[in-house]
């Protein structure tokens, strides 16, 4: 399969690989996908007192496009408020990485991962 240069770059040099402590107060964790489907993304955000996402980390089991999509969103969410992060759409991810049609689901999964991480953070702080 022919990948775009951007996908290959994220795949070869993934940004922000790693994990925060799930229990930390400022951390929201989202895990989406399933091993049987061939993709599992774990995205974590670290939110500052001012409500701005200070840092993000990911780990992904999946194809090159899935790894690139999650690597890209860790860069994109940094510096955004939770609401701004939720505005990141899969179409923008797919466009940035020039994903072929069969790989669009990778960008959808990355969008879902952001939503899941934000939701986890909000749940911690509303209760």
């Amino acid at each position: 399969m022919a990948y775009s240069e951007k996908v290959l770059d994220h795949y070869e040099n993934p940004r922000n690989v790693g994990a925060f402590k799930k229990e930390d107060d400022g951390v929201g964790t989202g895990m989406v996908g399933a091993p049987a489907c061939g993709d599992v993304m774990k995205l974590q955000i670290k939110v500052g007192k001012d409500g701005i996402i200070e840092d993000a980390k990911f780990k992904t089991y999946g194809c090159g496009s899935a790894i690139a999509s999650s690597s890209l969103v860790t860069e994109w969410v940094k510096g955004k408020t939770l609401d701004q992060a939720l505005e990141i759409k899969n179409t923008a991810i797919a466009e940035e990485l020039a994903l072929p049609p069969v790989k669009i689901h990778c960008s959808i999964l990355a969008e879902d991962a952001i939503k899941a991480a934000v939701e986890d953070y909000k749940k911690k702080h509303n209760s």
């Binding site: 399969m1 990948y3 091993p35 049987a36 999946g62 194809c63 790894i67 899941a116």
Partner: protein, 403 residues
């Protein structure tokens, strides 16, 4: 000096041995005659070459040259054998038995016969990839006319008990077809002893050219087929079409070399395969697919848990191998062979088939081991599943948010 990518996909196809290519070339140029031309020396020369090649093919498998029919390859041989026998003997019954792990050239042929009104049983294999003889016996019905079982599986390299199945078929009067595309030059084949009625061969898996194959059709006791290709009545009417002399010469020479060199070559290839296995076994959570004892010497099929198949293939683009994953297509369907062995989808996706051959070197194997060790490590660093495994989480117990 290593040349990239390193070819470790000899079960997909092999290069034509230079000695084979050299022997073929004159038959494209000055010795171009039609073997069916009876009236001049051009034809006689070509016919002589075709008959010598037939002898070489027959000699590798313990057959009489009269029992060898030229075809375009193993796919055509499988079609001719299975459809030809099923049609000819359809008066006796319309039931066919085969295995779920057969090549598509057999499975799709049997499917087509089902469409034409035949009934088929697709037998499961055991976890090691081998057929369960008791299950095969139990599947036989009074109206079973053809059983088709491959000699060597193309993905996992396991060698089926052909001799035993042959005894069973002969006793029950059932036509026994064997797809031996992956077996020539790898295992001893002696059709003077094996009770096989029809056997398919391919040249390009054994250092011959693509586009040529053969079908063995037993003469004693005589096996009859309905031709699938009609025309000039070549090959005793079983397969019409002008013979491709240069291809046939190539197949003959390739099979002659296999006969002369296979014992020594298999020894060398087995040592390389075992070296590769030992090297890859140092990686945690790896699983060999298919029986290691009843297996061709050049095949290693191995699953690496907690890494995804396509990213694995991307990571090891310096080597040319086959993947158990077909997820470059939208269907995301893993290997049906590995699923038939009971592997779950994840392990089927993350499997790699290494097949070693005549031109593989120790340096190439050592490079491959180091590459896999490094890249699997890197992908597991990236894998949330690997973290969970290391934390002792049972992944089967997790409620995944499936998409």
């Amino acid at each position: 000096m290593l040349k990239f990518p390193i070819y470790l996909d000899y079960s997909a196809t092999t290069p034509v041995d230079p000695r084979v290519a050299e022997k073929m070339i004159p038959y494209l140029t000055e010795l171009f005659g039609n073997p069916a031309s009876r009236s001049h020396a051009f034809g006689w020369t070509a016919e002589k070459a075709v008959e010598e090649a037939r002898e070489d093919v027959a000699a590798l498998v313990g057959a009489d040259p009269k029992e060898i029919i030229w075809t375009s390859g193993a796919t055509e041989s499988n079609n001719l054998a299975i459809k030809g026998a099923a049609h000819f003997y359809s008066g006796k019954g319309k039931h066919i038995i085969t295995l779920k792990t057969e090549h598509k050239a057999v499975l799709d042929t049997v499917r087509e016969l089902e469409r034409q009104g035949f009934e088929a049983t697709y037998l499961d294999v055991q976890e090691n990839g081998l057929v369960d003889l008791e299950a095969l016996k139990a599947a036989i019905r009074p109206d079973t006319v053809v059983i088709s079982v491959m000699f060597v599986n193309n993905e996992v390299g396991v060698v089926q008990p052909i001799a035993e199945i042959g005894e069973l078929c002969r006793e029950k009067g059932i036509i026994f077809h064997v797809d031996a595309a992956q077996a020539t030059g790898k295992v001893d084949i002696d059709l003077s002893k094996l009770k096989v009625d029809l056997m398919s061969f391919s040249a390009h898996k054994t250092y011959g050219p693509k586009g040529i194959g053969a079908l063995y059709v037993r003469r004693k006791p005589r096996v009859r087929l309905e031709a699938q290709m009609h025309g000039g009545g070549h090959e005793r009417g079983l397969r019409s079409g002008t013979l491709a002399t240069h291809q046939i010469v190539g197949m003959g020479e390739a099979f002659r070399l296999a006969r002369v060199e296979m014992a020594e070559e298999n020894q060398r290839v087995r040592e390389l395969r075992d070296r590769l296995l030992a090297g890859l076994s140092t990686i945690e959570e790896t699983f060999v697919n298919g029986d290691m004892e009843h297996r061709v010497p050049h095949n290693l099929n191995i699953s690496f848990a907690y890494v995804e198949g396509e990213s694995l293939i991307m990571a090891i683009k310096d080597i040319a191998v086959s993947s158990g994953s077909a997820c470059t297509s939208a269907s995301l369907e893993p290997s049906y062979v590995l699923r038939a062995l009971g592997r779950n989808d994840e392990l089927a996706h993350s499997s790699i088939r290494f097949t070693i051959g005549r031109f593989t070197t120790v340096e190439e194997i050592d490079f491959t081991i180091e590459l896999l060790q490094r890249k699997i490590g890197k992908l597991r660093e990236l894998s949330p599943l690997w973290d969970m495994f290391k934390e002792g989480v049972d992944l089967d117990s997790v409620q995944w948010a499936a998409h």
